[in-house]
Structure formats: structure tokens, C-alpha cells
Symmetry: C2
Subunit: 326 residues, 2 copies
């Protein structure tokens, strides 16, 4: 029924060890012998069983990927980056969604452990002690992607968020904005947003600076909140923590009869496809989403193969893409 390495061995008149060797290039095999084995393999339509191989070698060539929600544009792009590089190094990914729930996240590390993944790439809003404990117990190499642990002891890939926040602020200042609102998710929802807020708040030249928190940051929720805010406050610049919040900002401003960018300027984080598909097109602090994933995966392969690593805490570059909203 299923053809095994043993069948191939018999067909090629060699031992299974030899078949294993040509399969894995694990030792030198005489050309003639190799040819016989290869022939036997495709004569029988043999496919090595990765599960058996995993049990014997204690390496599964699969990576656990834990994210809050793949259906979010940002996350989906990151996952694509991860999978591309994983495929390049002949790894596969087991994808799971945590919805950002701590208990589920910790559980998932456990099931990844059972699955014997070789490594884990982890996205979450805020890394907590429970996460770190779970990683340590499971004894699996972990790379944090677009997030970081408080102690900075786990390898991670990020941008410099404080600086990005400051860049956004400086940019608006230079554009003449003085009354600025930072639209973001609820405090503590994401470490990154907190960092950016800190960077922004450093811009002392603002005459007014308000932080507006919108739960989980959805457009529908943000729109009314922003409309209300703009009705009662003088604002000439907005920094949004995501494209979605940026778009809500633009629409709220337009609804309030303001012209974007004349009366009010909007700059948003991320640069998903949304940013260029709306009118006016959004100026953004572009984040290297695909690279977050790709670099995380690459870093993980280095960790797994004991290759030298420059830095366990990789900082990717962000940049401002100027468009019509500022």
C-alpha cells in the first residue's frame, strides 16, 4: 500500500541505510548506487514520510506561527513573509490565531511543543511574564515578530517605535501642525503603540497634544469618536496608529467640513494597501510588514542552525511616504 524506504532498498538491492543516505546527502554514495536508488524511488513513486523522519531525527522542519488574527491586513502580510522564507529553507509553518488572549497564547505554545516544532514565531500585543515562562518551559527557540519582551531577552524583529513616533511628530510640526491628536488603541493594548506615543509626546513644540484611545482600533468605532472630538476641539494634525485609524481620521475630518490636507493633516502608521486606495491617498510611516515576517524567519533559521547572529534584537527601518493627506 504505502511504499517505504524499505521497499526502495529492496528494489534497488541496497540497504535502507543507503537509501537514507542518498535521500539526505548524509554521506558519500557511489554514483552507480545512487542512480539505482533514485531509479527505484521514482519507479515506486516513493515519498519519504516526514513524520517518521521527524521522530527519528527529532527535527520536524516545521515552525509554529502564533498570531493574533491572520485576517488583519498587517498580520496577513507578515505571515506571507514568514512563509516565503520558511519555504525557501524548506520549512513549513503551522499557523494559529490567538485573538490576543493570554490563556490561549500560552496554550498554543504548549500545543506547538507537542507538535515538536523546531521553532516559534510569535506576534502578540504585549509580551508578558506568562509568555516568557511558556517559552522557557517548552525549550523551543522563539523569535518575537513586531513585538518585544520587557526584559529584551528574547530574539525579536521590530522597528524603532519611539523614533518612528517622533518622526511622525516632527513631520507634522514641519508641516505647520501645532494641535495634534494621536489616535490609537487602548492603553496597554500594544507595547508598540505605547512606544510611538512616547516618541510623539516628546515633540514639545506642540501647543496641544491629545491621545485618543479607540478600543481595539476599528474604523467603525473610531469614526464617531473622532467626529465628536473634532467637533469640540481645534485640531490641525493627526497621527494614527494604523491605516484603518488614519482613514477614519480623514473621513471624520471631511464629515466635519474640513479639507484634508488643507485644514488638517493626517499621517498613519503601516502602509497597507488601504493607504493608496483611498482619496486622498494617505501619507504614512511605512512599516516593513513583509520583512517583519521574512527577517523573523531568517533569524529563526540562523538560531536553529547555530549560525552566527549579529543581533538578537533586529531593528528594521521605517520611512515616511509622503502622499496627499498631509
Amino acid at each position: 500500500m504505502t511504499v517505504t524506504i524499505y521497499d526502495v532498498a529492496r528494489e534497488a538491492k541496497v540497504s535502507m541505510a543507503t537509501v537514507s543516505r542518498v535521500l539526505n546527502g548524509t554521506a558519500v554514495v557511489k554514483d552507480e548506487t545512487k542512480r539505482r536508488v533514485l531509479d527505484a524511488i521514482d519507479r515506486l513513486g516513493y515519498r519519504p514520510n516526514a513524520v517518521a523522519r521527524g521522530l527519528a531525527s527529532k527535527k520536524t522542519r516545521t515552525i509554529g506561527v502564533i498570531v493574533p488574527d491572520v485576517s488583519a491586513a498587517f498580520v496577513a502580510e507578515v505571515v506571507r513573509g514568514i512563509e516565503d522564507i520558511a519555504a525557501m529553507y524548506e520549512y513549513h509553518i503551522i499557523l494559529t490565531n490567538s485573538d490576543g488572549q493570554l490563556s490561549r497564547e500560552v496554550d498554543l505554545v504548549g500545543t506547538m511543543w507537542e507538535k515538536q516544532v523546531d521553532g516559534i514565531i510569535y506576534m502578540t500585543h504585549k509580551v508578558q511574564k506568562e509568555h516568557v515562562d511558556a517559552f522557557e518551559q517548552a525549550q523551543i527557540p522563539v523569535v518575537l515578530c513586531a513585538t518585544e519582551d520587557p526584559e529584551r531577552r528574547i530574539p525579536s524583529v521590530n522597528i524603532d517605535n519611539v523614533r518612528a513616533g517622533r518622526d511622525a511628530g516632527q513631520y507634522l510640526l514641519q508641516k505647520g501642525c501645532r494641535h495634534v491628536v494621536f489616535v490609537t488603541t487602548d492603553e496597554g493594548y500594544s507595547v508598540l503603540a505605547d512606544r510611538r506615543g512616547a516618541g510623539l509626546a516628546n515633540c514639545r513644540e506642540f501647543e496641544s497634544f491629545v491621545r485618543l484611545e479607540i478600543g481595539d482600533g476599528r474604523y467603525e468605532k473610531a469614526l464617531p469618536r473622532l467626529s465628536e472630538h473634532l467637533r469640540s476641539h481645534a485640531v490641525d494634525g493627526i497621527v494614527a496608529a494604523s491605516d484603518e485609524l488614519g482613514l477614519a481620521s480623514i473621513h471624520a475630518a471631511q464629515d466635519a467640513g474640513m479639507n484634508v490636507p488643507k485644514d488638517i493633516k493626517v499621517i498613519a502608521f503601516d502602509n497597507t494597501r488601504l493607504a493608496t486606495m483611498v482619496r486622498p491617498e494617505m501619507t504614512v510611516i511605512a512599516q516593513p510588514m513583509y520583512d517583519f515576517g521574512a527577517v523573523s524567519m531568517r533569524l529563526l533559521t540562523k538560531l536553529l542552525h547555530d549560525e552566527p547572529v549579529d543581533s538578537y534584537s533586529v531593528i528594521l527601518l521605517h520611512n515616511i511616504v509622503e502622499r496627499q493627506s498631509t
Copy 2:
């Protein structure tokens, strides 16, 4: 180092078979014994090795998911649906991107085979003979998600695309449109788009009906093409094969000085989040993206557990969500 079922057995003073039994509920175990085993398990921090289990039982509880590109909003939403239901039934998913390339798609079926997945959920633009051959050779249950094979022999989950096309047409007719353009991807790019086009073309009351093909259907490519078309043709209604194409249609119309919906009406397929985040909000033929995934996965679990199945070709309902663009 790693604690095995054998360690647990010794700790609990029972045989490994008994431990296996309490782990899997595979036979009745005396309460007292079960307690001893459970105690031993968490005293030792034991985690069953899913790989060993997979080898012994020939079931891995993992599903291969092959999609063109997770970073596409539609696909990401489907994947979320798949993963949610998979998790519910204690399956995991191995996610891979094919970029819609036939050779890669066929390869992936092979590697899924090596990985010993219990089943495959498959998304692609167009199912071809090579796909079907690969499925048959691998002998793995497959569910086609939001696509179907020409012969209709492989289980699948879809909407009624011909009818959806007709519905879109009828809707525009009823809104008074007579000169309609169907904006879609290149011919043959997707079976589904072809079906919809067929449904649309059935609306004989149109005075003019043009099919405009935009490569792979990206906004940036579509915008200039549509602008050009609207400049030289009288059009009062557009059916777009995706939200992205719908948005391009709206913007092209606005650029041409037309008012949407007064001068021209736009209805698009999909209903991703984009549809409600733009102005005017888009009327859509809503597709049950999440359910495509969820139902596909549910169907697959039935296939895997030999549960009775009503239909191997599930048709989900689509519906028109009327908004401001019509």
C-alpha cells in the same frame, strides 16, 4: 531530558498502555488509576509527542492548506475561518502559498503528502487536470474552497456564481442601468469570475455590455484602464469582480467627473472590510468568506471521520448589501 509516556507509566506505577488510555480516552480506566496517571503527568510536566503519535496511529491531526496568497484580504479571511474550525476539532493547519502557479501547487500536494496531513483544503484560480491527478496520487481527502473542478468530482464549497452574476445584473437593471461594464481579471484567471460573467451576460435587457479584463485585478492597474474606458464610452453601471476593482471603478468615475451613484452605479463582489471604509460605501454581492473556510474545514472533518455528508458540493448563499454606491 524529555519525559516520555514511559516515564509517566513508571511514575504512576502502571504500564504505558494505561497511560495511553487515559490520554486518549480509548478505553475505560479505573478512577483511582486514572488519578494516579494524571498526577504523574503533571508532576513530570509530561506532554505527549504528537509526532510519535502520528507515526503510530497514522493520523497527524494536521490539515494542509494551500492558497494562492494569504496576504490577499479575501484569502486571509477564508484562512481564518479554516483555522477556527480546525482548532475547534483539534486540528492544526500547515499553511502554504502557491501564487497560483500550477507547478508549485502540484509540488505542494506532494509535500503535504510527505507531511502526512490528514486532509487538504485547496484554493486556486482554476482547477486543472494536473491538480486532480496530484490529489489522486496522494490519496488524501481534499476539499476545494471557493473553487471547483471541471468534473465536479472533488468536494467543494462555493456560492452559485452564475446566479450571483445574474443577481448583480438584475440589480443594476432595476436601478435603471442599461450600459454596463463587467470589470474583472483576465479571462481564465478564475473559473468563478467566468461563471459570474456568464450570469451577467444573460441579462439581455442591457443595451450595451462590455467585459473589461484587468490582468490580475489590482487597483493600480485597473484605475487607468477604467478611466480610459469611461472617457470614451457611455456607462451607467459597473459590476466589479472584487472590492478592489469596485473601488477603482468608483475612483475612475469620480475622476471622470461623474457622481457615484447618480451618474453611474457600482456594485462589487466580496464585501471585504474595504467596502465599508470608503466613500461612498460600496454596494456589494457579499461573499461568505469566513464561511468558505469554516464550512470547508467542517466538511473535511466529516470526510475524515466518515460522518454522513449531505452534499459533496456545498453551495453557500450570497446576498446583496445595498450601500451608497448604487
